[in-house]
C-alpha cells in the first residue's frame, strides 16, 4: 500500500514539474478552463439562489388565480364571476385583484400598480417600492404626478416606501387606493383584473379548477403549483442564451484540449521516450498523463467554483448584472441569499471534467505506448 502511494506521489511530483516546465501553455489552459467553470458556476449559483427565493416567497401566493381570456388575451373579469365561483364546493374565499401596468414617460420605466386588499392606502396616497423611489428620486411625503387615462394629471403623495428587504418582490410596485386606481385607469364598473381564489383543501385544487373552467369557458385558472413549476422551469438552466453560448465555449475548450493532448510536440514525445528508456512503464506514463489532467481539471474546477461563489454572493453577480439588466430602466437591486446546489455542481463537474478526461485518454496512450528503445535509436 505504501509503495502504491509512494509511486503515485512520485509520479505526481514529476507531473507537476512537467506542467511547470511549459508554464505559459499550461497556465493559459488552466485560465481558460477556470473561466468557463467560473461563468457556469456563477450562473448555477445565481439561478439556484433565485429559485430558492422564489420558492420561499411564493409559497404563500394565492392558491389559484382565475383570469379571463378574450381573443387570446388577458381581459378584465366581471366581479360577479367571483360570487358564482365562491359558491363552488371547496372554495374558501374569492378576492378580486386590481392591478395593472403604468408606463412612466418621464423616466421611461414600467411600474406595476396594485390595489391592496384591506385599505392599506388612503385615497390620494401611495406606497411605493424602493425601485420606484430610486428612479424617481422620491422620498416619503413627496408628491408624484401621474397621467390618468385621459392625460389629466393625478397628484399622489408618498405615504410610505417599502423597506429594502422587499426589493425582490416589490421594487416596481405602486400601491394605491381603489378610488385612485379607478380615476387613473377608468376600469368599467364591476370588473377586476383577475380573481384570487383560495381553496380549503389543497387536494381539491385541481377539481375546483376543472369546475371553474367548465362553468366559465372563457377563463383560465392558474394554480400556485403551476406558478412554482413555471418558476422552476424559468430558472431551469436550459435553453437560455447563456448556456448556448457557454456550450460553444465548452466545446471549443474541449477541441483546444484535444488539440493540446494530441498535438504532442516532438520534444514531449522525446521526453516520454526517455522516461520509458530509463525504466518507466507504459502504465506509469499513463498515470503521469492522468495526473497532469487531474491537476489541471481539478484545480480549475475548485478555483472556478470558489471564485463564482464569491462573485455571486459577495459581489452580487456584478458581471451578470449588466447582462440581466438589459434595457429595463428599473432594475431591482438585491443581495442574493447564499444557496448552493450540490446536484448542479455535480452535473457541472460531469459536463466539464469528464469530456476533458476522455479527450485525453487516447492521446495519452498514444504517447505512452512509444517503444522504450525509441530514445536509443534516435
Amino acid at each position: 500500500m505504501s509503495s502504491f502511494i509512494n509511486r503515485h506521489r512520485n509520479i505526481i511530483d514529476f507531473a507537476l514539474s512537467s506542467l511547470l516546465r511549459r508554464k505559459i501553455k499550461n497556465i493559459s489552459l488552466l485560465g481558460v478552463y477556470t473561466l468557463i467553470i467560473f461563468v457556469l458556476a456563477s450562473l448555477i449559483f445565481f439561478v439556484h439562489a433565485l429559485r430558492r427565493e422564489a420558492a420561499l416567497i411564493l409559497k404563500n401566493a394565492p392558491d389559484m388565480v382565475v383570469q379571463r381570456l378574450m381573443a387570446g388575451r388577458h381581459e378584465l373579469i366581471p366581479v360577479d364571476y367571483g360570487q358564482k365561483i365562491s359558491s363552488i364546493r371547496g372554495v374558501q374565499d374569492v378576492v378580486p385583484r386590481l392591478w395593472g401596468y403604468y408606463f412612466d414617460p418621464a423616466i421611461g420605466s414600467n411600474y406595476t400598480v396594485m390595489v391592496p386588499r384591506d385599505n392599506m392606502v388612503q385615497p390620494d396616497n401611495i406606497i411605493i417600492g424602493t425601485g420606484v423611489a430610486r428612479v424617481r428620486k422620491a422620498s416619503v411625503r413627496d408628491l408624484i404626478a401621474f397621467q390618468a387615462y385621459d392625460k389629466t394629471p393625478l397628484l399622489l403623495m408618498i405615504q410610505q416606501i417599502l423597506p429594502y428587504e422587499s426589493e425582490l418582490v416589490a421594487a416596481d410596485l405602486i400601491l394605491m387606493s381603489e378610488q385612485d386606481f379607478q380615476s387613473m385607469f377608468n376600469l368599467p364598473k364591476g370588473y377586476a383584473t383577475d380573481l384570487a381564489v383560495s381553496v380549503a383543501n389543497p387536494r381539491e385544487l385541481v377539481t375546483v379548477a376543472t369546475k371553474i373552467a367548465e362553468q366559465f369557458p372563457d377563463t383560465r385558472p392558474i394554480l400556485k403549483s403551476e406558478i412554482l413549476r413555471t418558476y422552476d422551469s424559468v430558472f431551469d438552466w436550459r435553453g437560455g442564451m447563456m448556456i448556448v453560448i457557454m456550450s460553444a465555449a465548452i466545446l471549443s475548450f474541449i477541441i483546444f484540449a484535444w488539440d493540446k493532448a494530441t498535438g504532442l510536440s516532438a520534444e514531449e514525445r522525446k521526453e516520454i521516450g526517455i522516461l520509458k528508456s530509463i525504466g518507466w512503464e507504459t502504465s506509469d506514463v499513463l498515470f503521469l498523463k492522468f495526473w497532469e489532467g487531474i491537476v489541471i481539471s481539478l484545480s480549475a474546477f475548485l478555483c472556478g467554483v470558489l471564485l463564482a461563489y464569491g462573485h455571486v454572493f459577495f459581489f452580487s453577480a456584478t458581471i451578470f448584472e449588466h447582462a440581466l439588466k438589459g434595457w429595463s430602466i428599473l432594475y431591482p437591486q438585491f443581495r442574493l441569499v447564499p444557496a448552493i446546489d450540490a446536484f448542479q455542481l455535480t452535473v457541472l463537474f460531469a459536463l466539464s471534467v469528464l469530456p476533458y478526461t476522455v479527450a485525453t485518454i487516447v492521446p495519452a496512450w498514444l504517447a505512452a505506448s512509444a517503444d522504450p528503445d525509441a530514445a536509443m535509436r534516435s
Partner: protein, 105 residues
C-alpha cells in the same frame, strides 16, 4: 537539508480549496439564517398583496409577470421573443397554460 516536495504543495493547495468549500457551505448556512427575517418579510408581503411573481425584469409584461402573461404575449412584439434580450432569453413564455387547457378539456 529538507526541501518541500511539489506534491506536498499541491496537496496543501487541494486541502485549502476543500477547506474553503467547507467554509462556503458554512457561509451558506450562516447567510440563510441571517436572511431569514428578510425572507419571511418578503413572503408575508407576497401573501398580503397576493403577489404571484418576482420582480426581476420590468421591461415587458411577460418578463415582469411570467405566470400571468397571455399565451402569446412574446409573439406580439416579435415572433422569436428576443426583443427583450437578455431577459427574454431567461424567461421563456409560460408553457403550462396550454397543457392545463388540454388537461381540463
Amino acid at each position: 537539508m529538507f526541501k518541500v516536495r511539489k506534491s506536498t504543495y499541491y496537496l496543501v493547495f487541494l486541502v485549502s480549496c476543500l477547506a474553503m468549500f467547507v467554509a462556503m457551505t458554512l457561509h451558506v448556512r450562516y447567510g440563510q439564517a441571517e436572511a431569514k427575517t428578510g425572507s419571511e418579510y418578503r413572503a408575508s408581503l407576497a401573501e398580503k398583496l397576493m403577489i404571484t411573481d418576482l420582480c426581476l425584469f420590468t421591461e415587458a409584461r411577460y418578463t415582469r409577470h411570467p405566470s400571468m402573461a397571455d399565451l402569446d404575449t412574446p409573439f406580439q412584439d416579435h415572433p422569436v421573443s428576443l426583443e427583450h434580450f437578455p431577459s427574454g432569453s431567461f424567461v421563456s413564455p409560460p408553457d403550462f397554460t396550454a397543457r392545463l387547457h388540454e388537461l381540463i378539456h
